[in-house]
C-alpha cells in the first residue's frame, strides 16, 4: 500500500512537472508570436496578408527572394499609407502540402488574413487552394507554375508568372530556332514539377520533328552514371533537364566528365547561381535556363533599377529568382487595399480588374486567374555568372 501511494505521488509530481514545463514553453512561444502579431493599439487598422512558401526547407533558395520581395512591397506601402497598415505574416510550409494545409487553415480561421501571397510551389498550392477558396481569401502566387492550377475553377486564385505549359514549348521552340537539333535527350527528376516541364518540352520537340529520348534520375541519389551512359549512346544535340538546380548540378558534372558536350538546358527550378557551385565552373559553363521570372541583373530599365536598389538596401543582396514576382504579387493586393478595399471579397473583386505595370511585367489577370502576359526569359551561365539574354523571342545564344 505504501509503495502504491509513493507511486501515485510520483505520478502527480512528474505530471505536474511536465504540465508546468509544457505550459512554460507554451507561454514562451505565445509571447514571441503575439509580440510580432496584432499590435494595432494605435487606432489605425492593421490588415494581415499571408506569405506561404518554403522558407527553411530544401528549396528555400527559391522562396526567400519572393518573400523578401513581398516584404519590400508591404514596407513601402506602410511607409506611404496614412490610414490602413498592412502586416505580412509568413507561413513556412517547407514546400510540403501536408504542412501547408493546417497552416492555411490557421491563416484563414485564426489569423484572419485578408489575402495571401503564394503558396510558393505547385504541390502545396493545389492542396491549399480549396482551403482559401472556401475561406474566400484571394491569393496571388509569384512562382507556382503548374498549368493545372488554373483549371480548378478557383475564383480567388491568381498568379503573376507564365505556367509550365507555356514555358516548356517556348524554350523548346527557342532551342529549335537557335540550334536546329536533330535529336534531343529529355531527363527529369521523377517529381511532379520536373516531369510536367520535361513532358511539355518533349512534346514540343516531337511536334517540331526532333527525335526525343528520355530518362529519369533519382533526386535523392547521386550516382547518375546509368543516365550518362544512355546519353552517350544516344548522342543528342541538346539535353533538357526538368527539375531543380541541385540535381542538375550533379548531373551536369557527371555528363561533362563522361564526355558529353551537347548543350544542357533547364527550367526555372534550376535558375540559381548555386548551379555553378554544384556543377563546378567548367561543367556549368554554357548551360541555358528558361524561366518565366525576370531577374533584374544590372538592368537599366528604371522600374527594375529602383526595385533592385531598394531591395539591396533593405536585404543586403541582389534580388534573385522570383523576387520581382513576389513584389508584384504583393503589390497587386496592396493596390486593392490602397483603393479602399479591406475585406477579402472586395480585394478579390479588385484583383479581377487590376491592370498596372509591375516590376516584372504588365499585371493583368485572365478570368481563370492566370497572368495575361506570357513571357519566358532566357538565361545562360557565362564565366560562372548567370546572364540574362532576354525573352525567348529576342534572346541570342552566345
Amino acid at each position: 500500500m505504501r509503495s502504491k501511494i509513493a507511486r501515485l505521488g510520483g505520478i502527480v509530481a512528474v505530471g505536474t512537472a511536465l504540465t508546468l514545463g509544457l505550459a512554460a514553453c507554451g507561454s514562451g512561444t505565445d509571447d514571441a508570436s503575439s509580440s510580432g502579431g496584432q499590435s494595432d493599439g494605435g487606432g489605425a487598422t492593421t490588415l494581415k496578408i499571408g506569405f506561404m512558401g518554403d522558407l527553411t526547407g530544401e528549396n528555400s533558395a527559391l522562396m526567400i527572394p519572393p518573400s523578401q520581395g513581398a516584404q519590400l512591397a508591404v514596407d513601402e506601402f506602410n511607409a506611404k499609407s496614412t490610414g490602413v497598415k498592412v502586416e505580412l505574416v509568413k507561413y513556412d510550409s517547407q514546400g510540403n502540402p501536408d504542412q501547408a494545409v493546417p497552416l492555411a487553415q490557421k491563416a484563414v480561421t485564426e489569423d484572419k488574413i485578408v489575402a495571401m501571397v503564394g503558396p510558393g510551389f505547385s504541390g502545396e498550392s493545389r492542396n491549399v487552394g480549396p482551403v482559401l477558396e472556401q475561406g474566400k481569401i484571394p491569393s496571388v502566387t509569384g512562382s507556382a507554375t503548374n498549368p493545372a492550377l488554373a483549371e480548378n475553377g478557383w475564383k480567388y486564385w491568381h498568379r503573376v508568372v507564365a505556367n509550365d505549359a507555356i514555358q516548356g514549348p517556348a524554350i523548346a521552340d527557342f532551342l529549335v530556332k537557335a540550334k536546329s537539333p536533330k535529336k534531343a535527350f529529355v531527363i527529369d527528376d521523377a517529381q511532379e514539377y520536373g516531369v510536367g516541364l520535361a513532358d511539355a518540352v518533349a512534346q514540343e520537340f516531337e511536334k517540331q520533328s526532333v527525335a526525343v529520348e528520355r530518362d529519369k534520375i533519382d533526386p535523392n541519389g547521386s550516382d547518375y552514371s546509368s543516365t550518362v551512359t544512355k546519353v552517350n549512346a544516344a548522342k543528342p544535340d541538346v539535353i533538357y533537364y526538368g527539375g531543380y538546380y541541385a540535381q542538375l548540378g550533379r548531373l551536369l558534372k557527371q555528363l561533362r566528365d563522361g564526355g558529353v558536350t551537347a548543350t544542357v538546358v533547364s527550367g526555372d527550378g534550376a535558375v540559381d547561381i548555386k548551379l555553378v557551385e554544384a556543377a563546378g565552373k567548367e561543367a556549368a559553363e554554357g548551360a541555358v535556363l528558361g524561366c518565366p521570372c525576370l531577374i533584374p541583373f544590372g538592368s537599366d530599365v528604371p522600374e527594375l533599377k529602383t526595385f533592385s536598389e531598394n531591395y539591396k538596401a533593405k536585404f543586403g543582396s541582389d534580388p534573385l529568382i522570383y523576387a520581382s514576382e513576389g513584389y508584384d504579387a504583393a503589390t497587386a493586393i496592396l493596390k486593392a487595399i490602397e483603393a479602399g478595399n479591406t475585406t477579402p471579397e472586395k480585394i478579390n473583386d479588385f484583383l479581377a480588374t487590376v491592370d498596372f505595370k509591375g516590376v516584372s511585367k504588365q499585371i493583368k489577370f485572365g478570368p481563370n486567374g492566370d497572368i495575361a502576359a506570357n513571357i519566358i526569359h532566357v538565361y545562360q551561365i557565362k564565366d560562372g555568372n548567370l546572364d540574362w539574354l532576354g525573352d525567348t523571342t529576342q534572346a541570342q545564344l552566345g
Binding site: R7, A23, S33, P97, D98, P102, Q105, Q134, A190, E192
Partner: protein, 381 residues
C-alpha cells in the same frame, strides 16, 4: 553480452530508469487491477476526451503554432490508426515490418483511383481499399514470411520503396503528379464532409475505436495466443503444433487492412495524393511510435503514436530543432525504457527483470542467436 550489467546498476541513468518505469508500470498495474466498471468508465472517459479534443481551448495549448483540428486528423489520428495496425504485425506477432507505409499508400491510391476514375461511393471504395491492401499483405507475405527476422525487415523496407517508386513511374495512376480531386465522403447523418477537418477526425475516432475492439478481441483469442507464441519463440511454437506461417500471414493480413483503411480515409480528406507522401521515414516513425509506446500493448501504442505525432507539432516554435530533439528523445527513451512507456504485461515479465537478472536477458539474446545458427545449418544441408 550482459556480463557486467551488475557493476553498473548504481548509475544515475539506471535509477532514473527505475523511477520512470515505476511510474508507468504503476499506472498499468492499477489499471489491470481495477474492477470492470472502473475500466468501462475509463474507456468512456477516453472516448469523451477524444470527442471534445478539437475544442479551441484545448487547441490553443496543444498546438499554438498550427491548426489543431487539422492536426488531430493528420498526423495525430492517422498515426494512431497506423500504429494500431502495425502493432498487430510488430507487437503481437513479432514480425519486424519496415515498409508499413506501403499499405497506407495502397489504401490511399485505391481510394483515389476508384473515386476519380470510376466515381464510386466512398463507403464502397473503403471496402475495396481494405480488400486490396489485405491482398497486397498476402502478396508481400507469402514469399517473404518464410524469411527470418531481419531479412524480413529489409524485404519489407524494399516493398515500401517498390510501391512508392512504382506509383511514381506508372502513368495510369498519375505518375509523379499523383492523383488530384479525390472526392470527399458523402454527407453522413447530416454532416457534410468538405474541407473542415472535424468530420474526418470523428470518422477516424470511430475507426480507431472499431479497430481497437477488433484488435483486442484478436489478442485474447486463439489467434492472439498463437501470435504471442510465435513472437516469443517461433521454433518452439512450430514444435507445439502452431502453424506459424499461416498465423504470420494472418498478422500481415490484418495489419495491412488497418493500414489500407487509414490510407483510404486520409486520401478522401486531402484532395490530392502523390508518391512522395509515402516515404520510408513514415514507416520508421510509425514503428518508433509502436515501440515507444510499448510494443504489443494497445493503450501504450496509442499513446506512443499520439506523442510522436503531436510533440513535433507542439514544438513548432522551435522550428527545425524539433526533429533533432525527436531523434535524441528516441535514443534517450530507449535507453531509459527500452520496453516502451506502457509495455505489454506479459512481455514485461520476460524482459523487465533484465536489469537485476542478467540471465533473463541472456535467454533472449541467446534465443535469437540460436535461431540464427539453426538457419545456418539449414543452409549447410
Amino acid at each position: 553480452m550482459n556480463a557486467n550489467s551488475k557493476t553498473h546498476s548504481g548509475n544515475p541513468l539506471t535509477s532514473f530508469r527505475r523511477a520512470v518505469g515505476g511510474l508507468s508500470d504503476g499506472v498499468r498495474d492499477r489499471w489491470a487491477a481495477a474492477p470492470g466498471w472502473a475500466r468501462w468508465t475509463g474507456y468512456a472517459l477516453l472516448i469523451a476526451l477524444a470527442v471534445i479534443a478539437p475544442h479551441p481551448a484545448i487547441g490553443s495549448f496543444m498546438a499554438p503554432d498550427s491548426h489543431w483540428p487539422s492536426l488531430l486528423f493528420s498526423p495525430i489520428g492517422t498515426f494512431v490508426l497506423l500504429a494500431v495496425g502495425l502493432n498487430v504485425v510488430v507487437g503481437q506477432a513479432g514480425l519486424l515490418d519496415l515498409g508499413f507505409v506501403a499499405f497506407y499508400a495502397i489504401g490511399a491510391y485505391t481510394m483515389a483511383v476508384f473515386g476519380t476514375k470510376y466515381g464510386w461511393n466512398f463507403w464502397g471504395v473503403l471496402i475495396i481499399a481494405i480488400f486490396m491492401t489485405a491482398i497486397s499483405g498476402i502478396v508481400l507475405g507469402s514469399p517473404t514470411l518464410r524469411l527470418r527476422g531481419d531479412y524480413l525487415a529489409i524485404v519489407t523496407l524494399g516493398f515500401g520503396e517498390i510501391v512508392r517508386i512504382t506509383a511514381q513511374n506508372t502513368d495510369y495512376i498519375g505518375g509523379a503528379r499523383g492523383i488530384t480531386n479525390i472526392p470527399h465522403p458523402p454527407t453522413l447523418f447530416g454532416v457534410e464532409f468538405a474541407l473542415d477537418p472535424l468530420p474526418y477526425y470523428y470518422l477516424l475516432v470511430a475507426a480507431v475505436v472499431l479497430v481497437v475492439i477488433v484488435a483486442k478481441r484478436l489478442e485474447r483469442s486463439r489467434v492472439g495466443r498463437a501470435w504471442e507464441a510465435i513472437r516469443e519463440d517461433e521454433d518452439a511454437a512450430e514444435l507445439m503444433g502452431v502453424p506459424t506461417f499461416r498465423f504470420k500471414l494472418l498478422a500481415f493480413f490484418v495489419g495491412a487492412m488497418i493500414g489500407g483503411l487509414t490510407g483510404a480515409i486520409w486520401a478522401s480528406k486531402v484532395i490530392a495524393i502523390q508518391p512522395p507522401n509515402f516515404p520510408f521515414i513514415l514507416s520508421a516513425t510509425i514503428l518508433a511510435a509502436v515501440v515507444l509506446g510499448g510494443s504489443g500493448n494497445l493503450p501504450g501504442v496509442v499513446i506512443g503514436a499520439f506523442l510522436v505525432a503531436w510533440l513535433p507539432e507542439r514544438f513548432r516554435g522551435f522550428a527545425d530543432y524539433r526533429i533533432l530533439i525527436f531523434g535524441a528523445a528516441l535514443v534517450l527513451m530507449m535507453a531509459l525504457r527500452p520496453e516502451g512507456l506502457l509495455p505489454a504485461r506479459r512481455r514485461r515479465n520476460v524482459l523487465g527483470n533484465g536489469e537485476n537478472d542478467a540471465g533473463a536477458a541472456a535467454t533472449e539474446s541467446g534465443g535469437t542467436t540460436a535461431s540464427g545458427d539453426a538457419g545456418d545449418k539449414e543452409v549447410a544441408k
